[in-house]
Amino acid sequence: MPESYACIGGCDHHLSTVNPHRLPSSIAREDEPLLVAAAKKGDTAAFEELVNRYENKIFRLTMNITGNREDAEDAMQDAFLKAYAHLDGFQGDSRFYTWLVRIAANEALMRLRKRRPGQFSLDEPMESEGDGDLMPRELEDWRPSPEREYAQAEMQTILAEVIEKLEPEYRIVLVLRDLEELSTQETADALGISVTAVKSRLLRARLKLREKLNRYFRQGAAN
């Protein structure tokens, strides 16, 4: 058995030895409730399977929110530990992954606030949320299929840079809605803000994302 599937708890029963990362997402979603139910009953291998499945995505999430490697690592680890500790409290009325994302987002936000005390607030409307600055200024044609011109690692670097440059209030909403695919309501619940605030920040975040990518993808820009 590959090392990554060695059971955390040292037990000898395993629900699956198939690499979960290779499963189509529909199958991954279908067996998620079974894994959660088994983990709740104390099957540590089942919980490990969930960790294997989601650790990369949760790390990306905590990296995107904190923008800091050390904080992202700590936030990810604590998110999984808290998820395991509070597994009994997971009612199954949402996907386990959505629940896990909420925990990880909170862990990441807590660390971001510590690093930037008083610098941002998710609860209050941002001053820039008027209509005045909405109109995009940079209007240029992009090269056809610019994403194909970059190796995967290069594109990752570009996206990481672009996301990091967004204000936390915007990038958190963008990451939860568009990258983690939480619904508007789930994002609002996770952050403790209104649906209106989520929509407003998502609009600005998406426009800013376009504007920042424009500098890489416009015709004539170096790649």
Binding site: V51, D141, D178, N214
Partner: protein, 79 residues
Amino acid sequence: MNCKGVIREISNYIDDELELAIRQELERHLEHCEDCTLILDQTRKSIEILCDSEPIPLPSELRTRLRTALREKLGNKRA
């Protein structure tokens, strides 16, 4: 609907969350406005590129650290 109105609703339009009448009004504007069409297409493309990005492979030392912490936690809970 003018350009400002389109931009204000562009995110809701992408998410298909507009009422029919407003959506139709927005689409009528798009038929003759190249700038708004360009912004819409590029915003959609930006979201698509973001969605298609692969998660970061976990550094091996972090994976080991996580496993160690979990093993300790799981051991405590079972004890």
